[in-house]
């Protein structure tokens, strides 16, 4: 899911960096010091998700779960994901510093968007909650892959076929992300609903 350094063109790098800085700024602004510890820990948990490999067909993929983070944190997911991506760059050299803007936008943008749009559905029936969970996982992954393909295509029209190949290959992953996000959401609803801000937590 990460684009490595050296692939994207300058305008794409610059444009996505600007958007990422804006998203992060909004996220940070909405974040007060009482919640910052929670966001740090969720950021770390998001990082840990990328170390979990689940089987898919004959191979396995690692989880992303951006949609879930979006559901939980809303705009706060933006800085949380940026930080996790930075740590991934440091630890595993996934992505890098210069493409952090592009990778951040690709992953955090859809995560926040899906989270904000789907969160109201969590207040509904059990079925609606499950649907919201599935859609959060599936759609955030779908839009991330779409943005990634778009970034490649905008960098160089010749990437068209490669980009669509990447997009297509992500479809099974989207389904797994959807299922896992759905199950985690129902888990949270039962075990500690205030994580999804479904009950007013004592603050």
């Amino acid at each position: 899911m990460h684009i490595s350094e050296g692939i994207l063109s300058t305008p794409v790098l610059a444009g996505s960096a600007v958007l990422t800085v804006m998203g992060t700024a909004v996220g940070l602004k909405k974040l007060d010091y009482d919640r910052i510890m929670t966001v740090s820990l969720l950021s770390a948990t998001f990082f840990v998700a990328s170390l979990i490999h689940v089987p898919i067909g004959p191979g396995s993929v690692h989880l992303l779960l951006g949609g879930l983070l979006g559901l939980i944190l809303g705009w706060g997911a933006f800085p949380a994901i940026i930080v996790a991506l930075f740590l991934q760059a440091i630890f595993f050299q996934y992505g890098g510093i210069i493409v952090l803007g592009a990778n951040g936008l690709n992953i955090a943008g859809p995560a926040v968007l899906c989270g904000l749009l789907l969160h109201p559905m969590l207040l509904g029936t059990r079925k609606q909650q499950m649907t919201a969970g599935f859609l959060a996982g599936f759609c955030s992954m779908f839009f991330s892959a779409l943005l990634m393909a778009g970034a490649l295509f905008l960098s160089d029209q010749g990437f068209l076929k490669v980009a669509s190949l990447i997009l297509a290959s992500h479809f099974p992953v989207m389904i797994v992300e959807g299922l896992i996000t759905m199950f985690v959401v129902t888990f949270l609803v039962r075990v500690q609903p205030e994580i999804l801000s479904l009950t007013t937590s004592p603050q």
Binding site: F187, R190, V191, Q192
Partner: protein, 244 residues
């Protein structure tokens, strides 16, 4: 001699050191157990938990063999078989429970063993009843108290019908009443077990043989006659217990 059935579990010359450490933590451990009730003591960090992890195949010994019913455990198939026969209760129950409700957690093992959902549920309900946790089925595991978690963790293991229990400091953090209940339960089970504990009274109540791990080697304690020594402390009138 050769016609005897081999013991359920046997360790031959097991040595182990954690990667990155130079000195070896456990050296030439020899031990066998069939249907005994064994206690295991030793200072913090001497390698008791590590020994259990070696037995369960979670760590690989640097040298030595583990034998299950006389057969060396080497391939991953053997390890799977061993894990079905041995139940391991973690030092921290929090690390052992992960399903939303108690019933789901207890049924998880039986389901993995291939039971149908209905059978798995029956086995789980039975096990919970056996431990006096009848109304716990629908409770959220995460919200249970420490003592309740310990008992539920025990249920998740018993539901898989093991032949030998490895219990890592089961009486830790339990209040006197829950601790008594655990002793009753362990005495009621007709199962072999190895119990790690710093709580000698708990071991005295549940075990017949005692081993110590010290400086990397496992030694059987001489079974002296029951000793009695005087014991003094204030507030003796408050209902109390020694060694929680």
């Amino acid at each position: 001699m050769n016609y005897e059935t081999p013991p359920l579990l046997r360790l031959c010359n097991i040595s182990y050191s954690h990667p990155g450490t130079s000195a070896s933590l456990l050296q030439d451990i020899n031990f066998s157990i069939n249907r005994e009730h064994v206690g295991l003591i030793g200072p913090n960090g001497c390698g008791k938990t590590t020994l259990f992890q070696l037995i369960m195949g979670l760590l690989k010994p640097d040298s030595g063999t583990i034998l299950l019913e006389g057969n060396a455990v080497t391939k991953s198939r053997d390890i799977k078989k061993l894990r079905r026969k041995l139940g391991f209760l973690f030092q921290h129950s929090d690390d052992q429970l992960f399903s939303p409700t108690v019933l789901e957690d207890v049924a998880f093992g039986p389901l993995n063993l291939g039971l149908s959902p209905d059978d798995a549920r029956d086995v789980s309900v039975q096990t919970l009843e056996q431990l006096g946790l009848k109304d716990f089925e629908g409770r959220i595991t995460h919200n249970l108290s420490g003592g309740e978690k310990k008992l539920v963790a025990l249920a998740t293991i018993l539901a898989m019908k093991p032949q030998l229990l490895l219990l890592d400091e089961p009486s830790n953090n339990l209040d006197p009443a829950t601790r008594e209940r655990l002793i009753e339960i362990l005495r009621g089970l007709d199962l072999a077990h190895i119990i790690i504990s710093h709580d000698l009274d708990f071991l005295a109540a549940t075990c017949t043989t005692l081993y110590t791990v010290q400086d990397g080697s496992l030694q059987r304690c001489e079974q002296k006659q029951v000793h009695s020594h005087e014991h003094i402390h204030p507030y003796g009138d408050y209902p109390h217990q020694h060694g929680t």
